[in-house]
Symmetry: C2
Subunit: 363 residues, 2 copies
Amino acid sequence: MGPGPSDVSQRVLNAMARPTVGHLDPLFIDLMDDIKGLLQYAFKTDNPLTMPVSAPGSAGMEACFANLVEPGDKVLVCVNGVFGQRMVENVTRCGGQALVVEDDWGKQTDLQKVEDKLSAHPDIKILAFVHAETSTGVRNDAQQLCKLARQYDCLNIVDAVTSLGGIELDVDGWGIDAVYSGSQKCLSCVPGISPVSFGPRAVERIQNRKVPVQSWFLDMNLIMGYWGKGGKRAYHHTAPVNSLYALHESLLMLKEEGLTQAWQRHQQGHQKLYKGLTDLGISFAVDESYRLPQLNVVSIPDGVDDAAVRKHLLDEFNLEIGAGLGNLAGKVWRIGLMGFACKDRNIDHCVASIAKAIRQPCV
Amino acid sequence: MGPGPSDVSQRVLNAMARPTVGHLDPLFIDLMDDIKGLLQYAFKTDNPLTMPVSAPGSAGMEACFANLVEPGDKVLVCVNGVFGQRMVENVTRCGGQALVVEDDWGKQTDLQKVEDKLSAHPDIKILAFVHAETSTGVRNDAQQLCKLARQYDCLNIVDAVTSLGGIELDVDGWGIDAVYSGSQKCLSCVPGISPVSFGPRAVERIQNRKVPVQSWFLDMNLIMGYWGKGGKRAYHHTAPVNSLYALHESLLMLKEEGLTQAWQRHQQGHQKLYKGLTDLGISFAVDESYRLPQLNVVSIPDGVDDAAVRKHLLDEFNLEIGAGLGNLAGKVWRIGLMGFACKDRNIDHCVASIAKAIRQPCV
């Protein structure tokens, strides 16, 4: 119950352990089509260029920036946590010029500040932000941010690593141009895969680049030849076949449950956890109006030893919860309720274990 | 029995299906140390910076080039197949200047031509080549090429995707500076992971770069913080936990068998396949002195329909063999004898199936 990887169901583990077939085997090609369709469902998009990048979420992030940013491009990044900062790193390393809207960790990105920057710099080409900040438990207002981007004629890049499958995300409805996620959060698949989707405006930008994408491995112009609809399935790199079996199974489970039902389950799980922890006197660090249900950031009670309690929880109760990152290190815990792990039994166990761990000295 | 992914043993599949733990869990940290030690054994190196990149071999290639090539650097690349060409792409995309020694596909890289280039261009900083060319079945003379590189004061980058575990490879003995491999060839692990190793001269170059590595995801300066010895295991990206369980198990199996024994098994398997196929009148496309035992490139007999026979083998005999790539498309088949798949039963089945498939019309 940390910030991810989340628990993986036996069903997904079993799927992953099926015999490895070739990445150009007709059986596998059919599976690729299925995965694409299921990802379109999960992202709520008809984008043909919707596929899993063969590497973790950080590589999905890099795929979006490396393909869309050209040297000299101005990119406005909203930073209110670790992953916004990582976006700035990506822009810079792609030769872009990063402008930043900063907000306090634990607060939402301020829409007015974003609009001010967009209107002051009409040459900004891309607006990038994190939908669900895993480092702080904050939901940024993706719908409004995308609207602003469109209004100022920018593309947008959205980090949906922790949001996909956990809270409402509507790629086509909100006009998202490029989005990446991770397999190991609310999809409860094994870590190592990053679903991405590129809309028509993004594809056009990629196809009309002036300079080649600096990464061969992540160049969507080449990857489209393997994952593209009706394509020749031209060999680009060897796909991580077994991890894609796992992704396929986890997406099937999401579809069986239903996207809206999955969002509701996360919200209900959060409410149960909220009640349990506040009854113990533990307070939530993020305002309710933009708090993530799947990533609960709570203040460490006074006098409690952060690391000792987390070690005790792991050793005695087989329970992992996450430490604070960056500015929040030592001040908060991050409790994940993601995907398969978001269920009553886990929440009861979590609350009971934390109750015991903070009431007794455990060093 | 294609050019990879090779067959994965049930033991490795079972290991992979163990419950996912966190990438910062103490249990997993111990496993990381084990993996590092086992990779050092497989590569024959004491390099502390020996670890698995969390993505396929193509990303391992990119990790080597992106970390070692700086804009403007001259890199000499030996090209005699697809993967040498891909190296050239990597050099260019890193802002380097690629010089090329070209040899015919199916022939070895000519050492004299390499030496001529190195001596004509004393400002070449890196010599890069493929040890085992998966596209042609050729073994390049890694030991001599590394010696030349050292003699002309260049770093070397070696593609060992198909060689690791299949033929002799001696990273420290040959003075290799940077090497990458793949999980899915002679290690018979699932695809998606790329073991790499960087020697002291390479690490020094990386630590003294003038410009940051253009890839955040593959920046070894950052990754060292997670995989480094005695480090803080600082979070960089979420490791592909289950795929690393699988890698660990496949490396254990290699160590149990013994590296030299594994090389011998591949050689013996090749000899058996050679006898079986030449008895059918099928000839081998690569000269014996530099032929790879683990990747057998054979000429398609006259009058035989390439695609139809491969489809027939897959549909009727559950046997995958590989098509020719690039210049060799339609002219050769590529038969893998890699890792777990390199065993008598498979070879008998392969020879018998090909015998039936080429003797009867199968369209």
